[in-house]
């Protein structure tokens, strides 16, 4: 496996999250349109990306920490179960964040984005990269000395979450900007496929992947 391969995967997963209208770009677009200012759109992207980083980061932290206290096999099995359960739940019950409010500040947007990403299980999807089988750095999945493994894991974890958020932010910014500049609001009617439905399968797929390796 080439070195860039896992990083590309992480970036693309971020891009997939960024593409979902529910995950942020649509909110930024609405704020830009409401204030009739491109700046309002651009300003919203920063806290939305921060919220996503926090949500994914928190999940990653747990995933990195767990193999240090439990056998990796157990953690992978547990994660697979959680992901499969979450995916199955999302398949049978359509639910969405109960949030009302378009007049939002920086902090609101960070909180909203954190909640939105967490409720979609965005961070959990990184588990194949953090727990295997898709290794970013050989030795990430801990077995050497406790502290050094921890630190290496943490460093690479931050890299992984950062790369993921970069893919997310760039995609989000690009889509929001194109729709805003082109006045392509009507596209929503025909191109907004049910990503939440796909999302459930993505979670199930990740569960399966977690069991490998």
């Amino acid at each position: 496996m080439a070195d860039w391969f896992p990083w590309g995967g992480i970036f693309l997963l971020g891009a997939y999250h960024g593409l979902n209208p529910a995950m942020g770009w649509l909110f930024a677009l609405a704020l830009g349109l409401q204030e009739r200012r491109r700046r309002a759109l651009l300003q919203a992207l920063v806290p939305i990306a921060m919220g996503h980083f926090l949500a994914v980061g928190a999940a990653a932290l747990v995933l990195i920490a767990l193999p240090n206290v439990l056998p990796l096999r157990f953690v992978r099995g547990g994660m697979a179960l959680i992901l499969a359960g979450f995916g199955a739940y999302r398949l049978v019950r359509a639910r969405h964040l109960r949030w009302v409010g378009l007049r939002v500040g920086f902090r609101d947007l960070v909180v909203w984005s954190t909640l939105m990403a967490s409720s979609h299980g965005a961070g959990l999807m990184l588990s194949p990269f953090l727990l295997g089988p898709i290794c970013v750095v050989p030795g990430l999945h801990g077995s050497e000395g406790f502290y050094s493994a921890w630190l290496v894991s943490l460093r690479d974890g931050i890299g992984i979450v950062g790369m993921h958020t970069l893919g997310y932010l760039l995609t989000m910014a690009l889509v929001a900007w194109i729709v805003y500049e082109g006045g392509h609001l009507a596209l929503l009617r025909h191109t907004w496929v049910n990503l939440d439905f796909l999302w459930a399968f993505a979670l199930l797929g990740t569960a399966f992947l977690s069991l490998l390796g």
Binding site: F27, L102, W192
Partner: protein, 464 residues
């Protein structure tokens, strides 16, 4: 049911919704005013001019109980499902939520798979509404960004306060009372919102006790019916501001905020002025982050021969216009005003909301005028234009003639024969009655009309 693409009747903006295809069906709430055990019904009217059954009732759902008094109703989901903060555009606009204003029962009617033959699928009993919310007499229904919102006139016992409650839009479970802090608000009637400003507006009629036994004349003459608007923080569910129109302006009913979410103004209809029996339309608007209200339309009473007037009006020697409903086209350009007393439907150009311009008017029925429909010019009509609904493209206006069963005979003592008419609106104003469309409901009385795929009072939008 979950869709793969957004429901095709959802539009991000009111501008895009105006390009929607013309409606082919209208759903009409019809009420049996007689205590003879026959239930109210939801009628399905064919409004497709190319159809052989154009202008006829083609379907009907009889409710299982009698005496509900169907009134207003609404969809389970609409364009607000596209709002960016809680999007769920893959639900279907499919179920009609029909509250019984008298019984407080809420019916859920499924318009699929055959929109001409809807089916009753669920009944929410008044005890459930009362125990979960403390409210009864549900009135207005709006599909909100996070659930189905309903207003209610008061408590189970018939007193105030009235308010807002919410249903889950997947399960129709009654979630509870909406208000966290109601401030000075006590009376309730209609509500709607400015989604771009996180603001809800509510209006005032009276408690159930004040309306269910006819007009309480003493309360009316003392100015105790509603005369205020309330502004709420939609997000935090708190009362922000009360806008008092003055006690002489009795019964502030229908609320029509601008559809464009970037515009912070809207129109409210007032039924009656105690000073001179005139009716009025008021504009609420945001200025320097506070809300204000001012009268922008006043419609005077028309002098009349007392012999032609019902007892309640004889001494006044005039017909009050009684503005009981108003509606705003999706481009925020034309405001339609129903004068149920004088039998007039007016069209105003409100491009400049502070200075409405009268651009059209038609007469149908009326307490004194009894103006006929062109389909049968020899027959005087009773009742008058009351509930008014506008097609999404703004070109077709549907009007029904009944107000509220306990109040109808006070103004039309000979009893109202139910009818529904259609008017054609010019693209730059002007109104003409469609001579081919005159639906009669016999001794049933029609109230609110909802159009297939949405109309000018069913959807709210998060994008300009």
């Amino acid at each position: 049911m979950v869709l793969w693409k957004p429901d095709p009747s959802f539009y991000p903006s009111p501008r895009l919704a105006m390009q929607a295809p013309p409606e082919r069906l209208a759903y009409v709430a019809t009420v049996n005013p007689n205590p003879d055990g026959r239930p109210d019904a939801l009628a399905v009217v064919d409004v497709d001019p190319r159809s052989p059954t154009y202008g006829r009732v083609v379907g009907r759902v009889d409710l299982p109980y009698a005496g509900d008094e169907l009134h207003h109703f609404g969809w389970n989901a609409c364009s607000s499902a596209l709002c960016p903060y809680a999007p769920h555009p893959h639900v279907q606009r499919r179920y009609l939520i029909l509250p019984g204003l008298r019984s407080s029962r809420i019916y859920i009617v499924d318009t699929q798979p055959d929109p001409r033959n809807p089916r009753l699928v669920r009944v929410i009993e008044p005890e459930v509404v009362a125990s979960r919310t403390g409210y009864s007499r549900p009135h207005t229904v709006h599909c909100g960004p996070d659930g189905i919102y309903l207003s209610a006139l008061g408590s189970l016992e018939g007193d105030g306060p009235g308010g807002i409650f919410v249903l889950d839009h997947y399960t129709f479970e009654v979630l509870g009372r909406w208000e966290v802090d109601r401030g000075p608000q006590f009376l309730a009637y209609d509500f709607w919102w400015h989604l771009g400003y996180d603001v809800m507006i509510t209006s005032e009629w009276g408690t159930p006790r004040m309306v269910e036994n006819g007009v309480d004349v003493e309360a009316l003459l003392n100015g105790r019916y509603g005369h205020r608007l309330h502004v709420w923080d939609l997000r935090r569910r708190r009362h922000l501001q009360a806008l008092d129109l003055g006690a002489e302006h009795q019964m502030v009913l229908e609320l029509r905020p601008a559809h464009d979410p970037t515009k912070a103004y809207g129109f409210a209809g007032v039924v009656l002025s105690l000073k001179d029996l005139s009716a009025s339309v008021w504009l609420w608007y945001r200025e320097n982050s506070a809300w204000s209200v001012r009268k922008v339309i006043e419609i005077p009473a028309e002098p009349a021969d007392p012999d032609l007037l019902p007892p309640i009006l004889k001494d006044f020697r005039a017909v009050p216009p009684l503005v009981t409903d108003i509606n705003l086209s999706l481009d925020d350009r034309f405001l339609y005003v129903s004068c149920w007393g004088t039998g007039e439907l007016r069209q105003y150009d409100v491009s400049d909301p502070f200075h409405p311009r009268l651009t059209g008017a038609v007469r149908l029925g009326g307490i004194v005028s009894r103006a006929p429909h062109p389909k049968d010019p020899a027959r005087p009509l009773n009742g008058g234009p009351q509930m008014v609904e506008i097609s999404r493209d703004g070109r077709r206006i549907y009007v029904t003639n009944s107000l509220y069963i306990p109040w109808d005979p006070i103004f039309y003592p000979d009893g109202i024969r139910g009818w529904m008419v259609k008017l054609d609106a010019g693209s730059d104003g002007g109104l003409a009655v469609d001579p081919a469309f005159f639906v009669e409901f016999g001794d049933y009385r029609p109230h609110q009309v909802r159009l297939e795929g949405g109309d000018a009072s069913s959807d709210s939008f998060c994008y300009p």
